[in-house]
Amino acid sequence: MPPRLPGKPTGLVLPFAAHQLTTTNVPLRMFGIKSITSPQPNRFNSGPDLPLLKSTPAAALERKLNSLPLRTGAIAIKKGMTAIFDPETGERTPATVLQLDRVQVISHKTLEKHGYYAVQVGSGWKHPSNVTKALLGHFSANAVSPKRHIYEFRVRDEKGLLPIGQIINADWFQEGQYVDSRSNSKGKGFQGGMKRWGFAGQDRSHGVSLTHRSLGNTAPGQGGGSRVYPGKKMPGNMGNEQNTVQNLRVLKTDPENGIIIISGAVSGPKGCVVRIQDAIKKAWPQIQKAAIESSTESSADPTA
């Protein structure tokens, strides 16, 4: 059927197209079947009820709202392992001894400036002649001595930003609370697939020759066809990568010597840097409010 032309001017029928008509003066042909729904000005789905997009920094912040600790953590040095006996029950708990050495808040990361809240913390001491000028400027601008180790600890909001220059000691953590520890595992060097990924290897005998610990097939038998899938588990450098151990209980703290004893093991060799922060999978420790308040009060003195 040939399309019918309308009898009257089309601009009245289709107001949305009026400007087109007026600007270009192209005669608009009307077809017999008209759409009931009004055309959408935007081809993307938008509206007030739609959920927030998941790939924006704002969405990431909202997503992490419940899993970000309220207060900052501390940088510790692993000193070794021992065991703690409970004198009443006689229970023995394997434990790791950590030491905090001159842990101090260096600077802050704020939502306005950096897009998230975090506390930059440093520990130890480094001779100024071994520090780059850029870092020296950073330290001197914040009135902090040069630090050997610098790490950031994310916090949920600005309430968790400890004042700059505040010293974090072992009493920052309460006995009995849970912490997460983050440290680099012991480096194992370049390792094969059996040690690195737990591959089964091949037979000792049955005609296997010189390939007892080899990788085996990497592409066709695994669905790759003529290529190797990205991320294929292969030999390579093993260890010396960050490992988080969650929910370690703080058994004892000794603020005088900066010693924290936490239950269980922590990745890495003796002397490695361990970052500990309130466990995100346990209730936040009860002290935090009091501690933050008291710390802000006490911090007024050293900075002044």
Partner: protein, 107 residues
Amino acid sequence: MIQLKTLLNCIDNSGAAVVECVNVLKKKRAGTVGDRIVVVVQRQRNFDTGIGVSAANKVRRGDIRHAVIVRVKKEMRRPDGSYLKFDDNACVLINKSGDPIGTRMSG
């Protein structure tokens, strides 16, 4: 560490001498002291009582029975960090309701 095919000494007077584990109950791992297992009687005990073997023995070779492990070679850890281990694996036969089949235990 009692698992499939482990041979255990039976230390009661039910008549079994050596039994073989065929299953560890309510566990996906190896059994230890106190665990219930299913066993097959492999060797009977000979009592020098004058009575016939069949009369004294409540179980026979090839019987499938439940048992409780009482000694294991694998060391057991205590909460205070001490370990205890025995030189053999041993068990006591029980019936399905949990009562011992034998009347005495030796050791």
